[in-house]
Protein backbone atom coordinates (compact mmCIF):
# COMPACT_ATOMS: atom_id res chain seq x y z
CA UNK A 1 0.00 0.00 0.00
CA UNK A 2 3.00 2.22 0.17
CA UNK A 3 3.01 5.07 -2.23
CA UNK A 4 6.19 6.25 -3.83
CA UNK A 5 7.30 9.78 -3.21
CA UNK A 6 9.46 10.86 -6.11
CA UNK A 7 11.99 13.56 -5.45
CA UNK A 8 13.44 15.22 -8.48
CA UNK A 9 17.09 14.27 -8.89
CA UNK A 10 18.39 17.82 -8.59
CA UNK A 11 16.51 18.35 -5.33
CA UNK A 12 18.08 15.28 -3.80
CA UNK A 13 21.51 16.37 -5.03
CA UNK A 14 21.01 19.85 -3.58
CA UNK A 15 19.92 18.41 -0.27
CA UNK A 16 22.95 16.15 -0.20
CA UNK A 17 25.28 19.09 -0.87
CA UNK A 18 23.73 21.12 1.91
CA UNK A 19 23.79 18.12 4.15
CA UNK A 20 27.40 17.21 3.67
CA UNK A 21 28.52 20.00 5.97
CA UNK A 22 26.31 18.73 8.76
CA UNK A 23 26.58 15.01 8.35
CA UNK A 24 29.69 14.26 10.35
CA UNK A 25 28.49 13.40 13.79
CA UNK A 26 29.10 15.92 16.48
CA UNK A 27 31.88 17.60 14.54
CA UNK A 28 30.67 21.09 15.30
CA UNK A 29 31.22 20.46 18.99
CA UNK A 30 34.26 22.34 20.20
CA UNK A 31 35.07 20.85 23.60
CA UNK A 32 35.56 17.31 24.78
CA UNK A 33 32.84 15.46 26.65
CA UNK A 34 35.11 15.39 29.69
CA UNK A 35 35.45 19.21 29.64
CA UNK A 36 31.75 19.64 29.10
CA UNK A 37 31.00 17.29 31.98
CA UNK A 38 33.35 19.20 34.27
CA UNK A 39 31.82 22.50 33.21
CA UNK A 40 28.38 21.11 33.90
CA UNK A 41 29.31 20.28 37.48
CA UNK A 42 30.56 16.74 36.99
CA UNK A 43 27.60 15.24 35.16
CA UNK A 44 26.52 15.74 31.59
CA UNK A 45 23.63 14.20 29.71
CA UNK A 46 23.86 15.31 26.11
CA UNK A 47 20.46 14.96 24.49
CA UNK A 48 21.97 14.51 21.09
CA UNK A 49 19.83 15.43 18.13
CA UNK A 50 21.12 13.84 14.98
CA UNK A 51 21.20 16.03 11.88
CA UNK A 52 17.98 15.97 9.94
CA UNK A 53 19.21 17.98 7.01
CA UNK A 54 18.75 14.96 4.78
CA UNK A 55 15.53 13.04 5.10
CA UNK A 56 15.06 10.12 2.75
CA UNK A 57 11.53 9.47 1.53
CA UNK A 58 11.74 5.66 1.48
CA UNK A 59 13.96 2.60 1.75
CA UNK A 60 14.74 2.73 -1.96
CA UNK A 61 16.63 5.98 -1.42
CA UNK A 62 18.23 4.68 1.75
CA UNK A 63 19.30 1.53 -0.05
CA UNK A 64 20.85 3.48 -2.92
CA UNK A 65 23.08 5.38 -0.52
CA UNK A 66 24.08 2.41 1.60
CA UNK A 67 27.23 0.39 0.98
CA UNK A 68 25.97 -2.37 3.21
CA UNK A 69 22.52 -3.44 4.29
CA UNK A 70 22.55 -6.11 6.97
CA UNK A 71 20.00 -8.01 8.97
CA UNK A 72 21.40 -9.11 12.28
CA UNK A 73 21.03 -9.63 15.97
CA UNK A 74 22.68 -7.20 18.37
CA UNK A 75 24.60 -9.45 20.73
CA UNK A 76 26.29 -6.97 23.05
CA UNK A 77 27.63 -3.45 23.09
CA UNK A 78 30.30 -1.23 24.56
CA UNK A 79 30.48 2.50 24.53
CA UNK A 80 33.50 4.10 22.97
CA UNK A 81 34.80 7.63 23.12
CA UNK A 82 35.95 8.99 19.78
CA UNK A 83 39.70 9.68 19.69
CA UNK A 84 39.13 13.45 19.91
CA UNK A 85 37.01 12.95 23.03
CA UNK A 86 34.08 14.94 21.64
CA UNK A 87 31.66 12.19 20.74
CA UNK A 88 30.62 8.73 21.86
CA UNK A 89 29.15 5.71 20.19
CA UNK A 90 27.74 2.44 21.36
CA UNK A 91 29.61 -0.18 19.39
CA UNK A 92 27.32 -3.13 18.86
CA UNK A 93 28.58 -6.60 18.13
CA UNK A 94 26.08 -7.78 15.53
CA UNK A 95 25.71 -11.36 14.35
CA UNK A 96 25.09 -11.03 10.61
CA UNK A 97 22.08 -13.11 9.63
CA UNK A 98 21.49 -11.73 6.18
CA UNK A 99 23.17 -9.41 3.71
CA UNK A 100 20.80 -7.44 1.51
CA UNK A 101 23.51 -5.31 -0.06
CA UNK A 102 27.30 -5.35 -0.05
CA UNK A 103 29.75 -7.86 1.28
CA UNK A 104 29.79 -9.07 4.85
CA UNK A 105 30.59 -12.39 6.45
CA UNK A 106 27.23 -14.05 6.96
CA UNK A 107 27.03 -16.02 10.19
CA UNK A 108 29.90 -14.09 11.72
CA UNK A 109 29.82 -10.92 13.74
CA UNK A 110 30.63 -7.36 12.84
CA UNK A 111 30.85 -4.12 14.75
CA UNK A 112 28.34 -1.32 14.18
CA UNK A 113 28.77 2.07 15.84
CA UNK A 114 25.63 3.99 16.76
CA UNK A 115 25.63 7.38 18.53
CA UNK A 116 25.10 6.91 22.26
CA UNK A 117 26.79 5.62 25.36
CA UNK A 118 28.13 6.75 28.68
CA UNK A 119 31.46 7.07 30.40
CA UNK A 120 32.99 7.79 33.77
CA UNK A 121 36.16 9.79 33.33
CA UNK A 122 39.31 9.46 35.39
CA UNK A 123 38.46 12.68 37.27
CA UNK A 124 35.17 11.15 38.42
CA UNK A 125 32.91 13.13 36.09
CA UNK A 126 30.23 11.39 34.05
CA UNK A 127 29.00 11.99 30.52
CA UNK A 128 26.21 10.31 28.61
CA UNK A 129 25.18 10.79 25.04
CA UNK A 130 21.50 10.10 24.70
CA UNK A 131 20.06 10.38 21.21
CA UNK A 132 16.78 12.26 21.18
CA UNK A 133 13.91 11.05 19.01
CA UNK A 134 15.71 7.81 18.37
CA UNK A 135 15.04 4.50 20.05
CA UNK A 136 18.42 3.11 21.03
CA UNK A 137 19.31 -0.38 19.85
CA UNK A 138 19.15 -3.11 22.48
CA UNK A 139 21.10 -6.31 22.89
CA UNK A 140 19.26 -9.42 21.82
CA UNK A 141 17.06 -7.70 19.23
CA UNK A 142 17.07 -8.17 15.47
CA UNK A 143 17.58 -5.13 13.25
CA UNK A 144 17.99 -4.07 9.66
CA UNK A 145 21.02 -1.78 9.38
CA UNK A 146 21.62 0.60 6.45
CA UNK A 147 25.35 1.22 6.63
CA UNK A 148 28.39 2.95 5.27
CA UNK A 149 31.13 0.41 4.80
CA UNK A 150 33.98 1.23 7.16
CA UNK A 151 36.44 -0.25 4.69
CA UNK A 152 35.41 2.20 1.99
CA UNK A 153 35.63 5.40 3.98
CA UNK A 154 38.10 6.59 6.61
CA UNK A 155 36.24 6.84 9.86
CA UNK A 156 37.11 7.69 13.45
CA UNK A 157 34.75 4.98 14.68
CA UNK A 158 35.44 1.33 15.34
CA UNK A 159 32.46 -0.06 13.49
CA UNK A 160 30.36 0.57 10.42
CA UNK A 161 28.18 3.67 10.69
CA UNK A 162 24.52 4.08 9.81
CA UNK A 163 24.14 5.79 6.45
CA UNK A 164 21.55 8.02 8.08
CA UNK A 165 21.81 8.52 11.83
CA UNK A 166 18.11 9.07 12.07
CA UNK A 167 16.67 6.73 9.45
CA UNK A 168 19.20 3.93 9.05
CA UNK A 169 17.98 1.51 11.72
CA UNK A 170 14.84 -0.62 11.85
CA UNK A 171 13.94 -3.22 14.42
CA UNK A 172 12.21 -6.45 13.39
CA UNK A 173 9.88 -7.29 16.24
CA UNK A 174 6.98 -9.75 16.27
CA UNK A 175 7.16 -9.94 12.49
CA UNK A 176 6.72 -6.18 12.13
CA UNK A 177 8.97 -3.23 11.42
CA UNK A 178 9.71 -0.63 14.06
CA UNK A 179 11.88 2.27 12.87
CA UNK A 180 14.36 3.48 15.49
CA UNK A 181 13.51 7.00 14.42
CA UNK A 182 10.65 8.17 16.58
CA UNK A 183 9.73 11.40 14.81
CA UNK A 184 6.21 10.69 13.64
CA UNK A 185 6.37 13.12 10.74
CA UNK A 186 9.38 11.38 9.20
CA UNK A 187 8.28 9.82 5.90
CA UNK A 188 10.15 6.60 6.62
CA UNK A 189 8.42 6.28 9.98
CA UNK A 190 5.02 6.94 8.46
CA UNK A 191 5.59 4.46 5.68
CA UNK A 192 7.18 1.51 7.44
CA UNK A 193 6.15 1.53 11.09
CA UNK A 194 4.09 -1.60 11.67
CA UNK A 195 4.68 -2.98 8.17
CA UNK A 196 5.12 -6.74 7.92
CA UNK A 197 8.82 -7.50 8.11
CA UNK A 198 8.76 -9.90 5.17
CA UNK A 199 7.22 -7.24 2.97
CA UNK A 200 9.75 -4.70 4.20
CA UNK A 201 12.70 -6.96 3.41
CA UNK A 202 11.27 -7.68 -0.01
CA UNK A 203 11.00 -3.95 -0.72
CA UNK A 204 14.64 -3.46 0.21
CA UNK A 205 15.68 -6.40 -1.90
CA UNK A 206 13.79 -4.99 -4.87
CA UNK A 207 15.60 -1.69 -4.43
CA UNK A 208 19.02 -3.34 -4.52
CA UNK A 209 20.36 -4.41 -7.91
CA UNK A 210 20.96 -8.16 -8.03
CA UNK A 211 24.56 -9.28 -8.04
CA UNK A 212 25.78 -10.81 -11.24
CA UNK A 213 26.69 -14.43 -10.72
Amino acid sequence: MSQKIKFPGFAVALLLMIASSFLAMGQQVKSTLNDRAKKAGGKLVWRYRAPRSVIYPNVEELAKRSDLILVGKALAHRSNLRADGKFMTNDFLVRVQGVLKGDAPVGESTLISIPGGARKFADGSFAALLPANFKAAEDGRVYVFFLEDKKKKASPYLGHMLVSETQGLFEIRDGKVEPADSVDSDPVVQKYRGMGAANFLAQIRLAVPKKKK
Partner: protein, 216 residues
Protein backbone atom coordinates in the same frame (compact mmCIF):
# COMPACT_ATOMS: atom_id res chain seq x y z
CA UNK B 1 22.70 -57.82 28.46
CA UNK B 2 23.07 -57.95 24.69
CA UNK B 3 19.38 -57.16 24.34
CA UNK B 4 19.85 -53.97 26.31
CA UNK B 5 22.54 -52.83 23.91
CA UNK B 6 20.18 -53.30 21.01
CA UNK B 7 17.08 -51.97 22.76
CA UNK B 8 18.51 -48.63 23.95
CA UNK B 9 19.64 -47.41 20.50
CA UNK B 10 16.30 -48.54 19.10
CA UNK B 11 14.39 -46.46 21.66
CA UNK B 12 16.57 -43.44 20.91
CA UNK B 13 15.93 -43.90 17.19
CA UNK B 14 12.17 -44.11 17.70
CA UNK B 15 12.13 -40.95 19.86
CA UNK B 16 14.16 -39.13 17.25
CA UNK B 17 11.84 -40.20 14.47
CA UNK B 18 8.73 -39.23 16.45
CA UNK B 19 10.07 -35.75 17.21
CA UNK B 20 11.08 -35.24 13.63
CA UNK B 21 13.69 -32.70 12.62
CA UNK B 22 15.19 -30.55 15.36
CA UNK B 23 13.30 -27.33 16.02
CA UNK B 24 14.87 -24.10 14.99
CA UNK B 25 15.62 -23.02 18.55
CA UNK B 26 17.85 -25.95 19.21
CA UNK B 27 21.47 -25.54 18.45
CA UNK B 28 22.51 -26.95 15.14
CA UNK B 29 25.80 -28.42 14.23
CA UNK B 30 27.94 -26.12 12.21
CA UNK B 31 26.79 -25.74 8.64
CA UNK B 32 23.54 -27.57 9.36
CA UNK B 33 21.02 -26.65 6.69
CA UNK B 34 17.32 -26.40 7.22
CA UNK B 35 14.88 -25.68 4.44
CA UNK B 36 12.45 -23.27 6.07
CA UNK B 37 10.81 -21.99 2.93
CA UNK B 38 8.16 -24.60 3.45
CA UNK B 39 7.47 -23.61 7.03
CA UNK B 40 4.49 -21.38 7.51
CA UNK B 41 4.56 -17.91 8.99
CA UNK B 42 2.31 -14.87 9.15
CA UNK B 43 0.77 -14.17 5.76
CA UNK B 44 2.25 -11.21 3.94
CA UNK B 45 1.37 -9.70 0.60
CA UNK B 46 3.23 -11.39 -2.19
CA UNK B 47 5.86 -8.80 -2.82
CA UNK B 48 9.05 -10.24 -4.18
CA UNK B 49 8.64 -11.81 -7.59
CA UNK B 50 12.43 -11.96 -7.88
CA UNK B 51 12.56 -14.50 -5.11
CA UNK B 52 10.48 -17.38 -6.48
CA UNK B 53 11.36 -19.89 -3.77
CA UNK B 54 10.15 -17.57 -0.99
CA UNK B 55 7.80 -15.11 -2.66
CA UNK B 56 6.10 -13.87 0.49
CA UNK B 57 9.29 -13.73 2.53
CA UNK B 58 7.87 -15.86 5.32
CA UNK B 59 10.70 -18.38 5.14
CA UNK B 60 13.27 -15.66 5.51
CA UNK B 61 11.44 -14.07 8.40
CA UNK B 62 11.11 -17.34 10.27
CA UNK B 63 14.79 -17.93 9.74
CA UNK B 64 15.86 -14.50 10.99
CA UNK B 65 13.62 -14.52 14.04
CA UNK B 66 14.98 -17.87 15.12
CA UNK B 67 18.55 -16.65 14.80
CA UNK B 68 19.32 -18.35 11.52
CA UNK B 69 21.25 -17.13 8.54
CA UNK B 70 19.28 -16.86 5.32
CA UNK B 71 20.53 -17.64 1.86
CA UNK B 72 18.11 -15.89 -0.46
CA UNK B 73 19.44 -17.64 -3.55
CA UNK B 74 18.68 -21.11 -2.29
CA UNK B 75 16.05 -20.23 0.35
CA UNK B 76 17.93 -22.23 2.91
CA UNK B 77 18.31 -21.30 6.50
CA UNK B 78 21.24 -22.44 8.54
CA UNK B 79 22.18 -21.99 12.13
CA UNK B 80 25.78 -20.96 12.41
CA UNK B 81 28.32 -22.36 14.76
CA UNK B 82 28.15 -23.99 18.13
CA UNK B 83 26.70 -20.77 19.59
CA UNK B 84 23.46 -20.20 17.69
CA UNK B 85 22.02 -17.72 20.19
CA UNK B 86 25.21 -15.68 20.30
CA UNK B 87 25.21 -15.77 24.10
CA UNK B 88 28.73 -17.13 24.46
CA UNK B 89 30.08 -14.69 21.93
CA UNK B 90 28.40 -11.73 23.62
CA UNK B 91 29.83 -12.76 26.99
CA UNK B 92 33.22 -13.02 25.40
CA UNK B 93 32.85 -9.54 23.89
CA UNK B 94 31.87 -8.01 27.22
CA UNK B 95 34.85 -9.55 29.01
CA UNK B 96 37.19 -8.30 26.32
CA UNK B 97 38.11 -11.81 25.27
CA UNK B 98 39.07 -13.01 21.84
CA UNK B 99 36.36 -15.09 20.20
CA UNK B 100 37.09 -18.08 18.01
CA UNK B 101 33.89 -18.74 16.02
CA UNK B 102 35.06 -22.03 14.58
CA UNK B 103 35.46 -23.58 18.01
CA UNK B 104 33.27 -21.22 20.08
CA UNK B 105 36.21 -20.73 22.39
CA UNK B 106 36.70 -17.46 24.21
CA UNK B 107 40.24 -16.56 25.02
CA UNK B 108 39.93 -14.66 28.29
CA UNK B 109 42.79 -13.15 30.24
CA UNK B 110 43.86 -15.38 33.06
CA UNK B 111 42.34 -13.54 36.03
CA UNK B 112 39.09 -15.51 35.88
CA UNK B 113 36.81 -12.46 35.98
CA UNK B 114 33.58 -12.35 37.98
CA UNK B 115 30.17 -11.59 36.55
CA UNK B 116 29.52 -7.84 36.30
CA UNK B 117 28.27 -6.21 39.51
CA UNK B 118 26.80 -2.75 39.95
CA UNK B 119 29.39 -0.77 41.89
CA UNK B 120 27.82 2.68 41.69
CA UNK B 121 24.54 4.26 40.75
CA UNK B 122 24.37 8.04 40.43
CA UNK B 123 20.93 9.44 39.66
CA UNK B 124 21.09 12.40 37.32
CA UNK B 125 18.83 13.99 34.74
CA UNK B 126 15.12 14.54 34.37
CA UNK B 127 13.21 15.26 31.20
CA UNK B 128 9.90 14.73 29.47
CA UNK B 129 9.21 12.96 26.22
CA UNK B 130 6.10 12.64 24.12
CA UNK B 131 5.65 9.23 22.53
CA UNK B 132 2.60 7.99 20.71
CA UNK B 133 0.48 10.73 22.18
CA UNK B 134 1.48 10.24 25.82
CA UNK B 135 3.75 12.28 28.00
CA UNK B 136 6.55 10.36 29.66
CA UNK B 137 8.49 11.60 32.66
CA UNK B 138 12.03 10.26 32.55
CA UNK B 139 14.80 10.05 35.12
CA UNK B 140 18.26 8.75 34.43
CA UNK B 141 21.14 7.25 36.39
CA UNK B 142 24.78 6.66 35.64
CA UNK B 143 25.31 3.01 36.52
CA UNK B 144 28.83 1.65 36.77
CA UNK B 145 29.45 -2.08 36.38
CA UNK B 146 32.65 -3.76 37.47
CA UNK B 147 34.08 -7.20 36.88
CA UNK B 148 36.66 -8.28 39.43
CA UNK B 149 39.53 -10.70 39.14
CA UNK B 150 39.82 -13.45 41.69
CA UNK B 151 42.49 -11.47 43.54
CA UNK B 152 40.08 -8.55 43.93
CA UNK B 153 41.62 -6.28 41.33
CA UNK B 154 39.39 -4.65 38.74
CA UNK B 155 39.31 -6.61 35.52
CA UNK B 156 36.97 -4.37 33.54
CA UNK B 157 34.65 -1.50 34.35
CA UNK B 158 32.14 0.39 32.32
CA UNK B 159 29.37 2.91 32.81
CA UNK B 160 25.93 3.04 31.26
CA UNK B 161 23.26 5.68 31.41
CA UNK B 162 19.94 4.11 32.22
CA UNK B 163 16.83 6.20 31.69
CA UNK B 164 13.59 5.08 33.30
CA UNK B 165 10.42 6.63 31.94
CA UNK B 166 6.87 6.45 33.31
CA UNK B 167 3.60 7.90 32.16
CA UNK B 168 0.31 8.60 33.86
CA UNK B 169 -1.68 8.70 30.61
CA UNK B 170 -1.33 12.46 30.26
CA UNK B 171 -1.71 13.13 26.57
CA UNK B 172 0.59 15.28 24.50
CA UNK B 173 1.63 16.10 20.97
CA UNK B 174 -1.70 16.05 19.22
CA UNK B 175 -1.64 15.82 15.47
CA UNK B 176 2.02 16.78 15.04
CA UNK B 177 3.66 19.04 12.55
CA UNK B 178 0.74 19.88 10.28
CA UNK B 179 0.04 23.31 11.72
CA UNK B 180 3.63 24.41 11.39
CA UNK B 181 4.56 26.15 14.58
CA UNK B 182 1.31 27.56 15.84
CA UNK B 183 0.56 27.90 19.47
CA UNK B 184 -1.45 24.71 20.08
CA UNK B 185 -0.42 24.19 23.67
CA UNK B 186 0.02 20.44 23.50
CA UNK B 187 3.51 20.42 22.14
CA UNK B 188 6.40 19.10 24.20
CA UNK B 189 10.06 19.60 24.03
CA UNK B 190 12.24 17.01 22.38
CA UNK B 191 9.88 16.55 19.53
CA UNK B 192 9.51 18.16 16.18
CA UNK B 193 7.72 21.12 17.64
CA UNK B 194 8.40 24.76 17.30
CA UNK B 195 11.76 26.19 16.95
CA UNK B 196 13.93 28.06 17.29
CA UNK B 197 13.87 29.03 20.91
CA UNK B 198 10.54 27.75 21.99
CA UNK B 199 10.18 28.03 25.71
CA UNK B 200 9.13 24.41 26.13
CA UNK B 201 12.14 23.20 24.25
CA UNK B 202 15.22 24.27 26.16
CA UNK B 203 17.51 22.19 23.97
CA UNK B 204 16.40 23.96 20.87
CA UNK B 205 18.49 27.10 20.98
CA UNK B 206 21.27 26.94 18.49
CA UNK B 207 20.12 25.42 15.33
CA UNK B 208 16.90 24.63 13.60
CA UNK B 209 16.17 22.84 10.37
CA UNK B 210 12.82 21.87 9.00
CA UNK B 211 11.26 22.24 12.40
CA UNK B 212 13.85 19.99 13.97
CA UNK B 213 16.32 21.23 16.48
CA UNK B 214 19.92 20.40 16.93
CA UNK B 215 22.32 21.22 19.67
CA UNK B 216 25.60 23.07 19.02
Amino acid sequence: MKRVFILVPLIVLVIWLVNGAPTSRRSQPKDAVLPVAETTAAAEPVSDPCNPCDPDGSGELTCLITGGVWNSDTCYCYYPSCDPSGLLESQCFVTGGVWHPESCYCEVPSCNPSAPVVTSRVPYGHWTECHNGYLWECDGSFVTYTMFCQNGSVFYQWTEYNPVCTNDYTTCGGGGGGGGGGGGGDCWYDLDCWCPNHGDDPDCEDYCWWNYCQLE
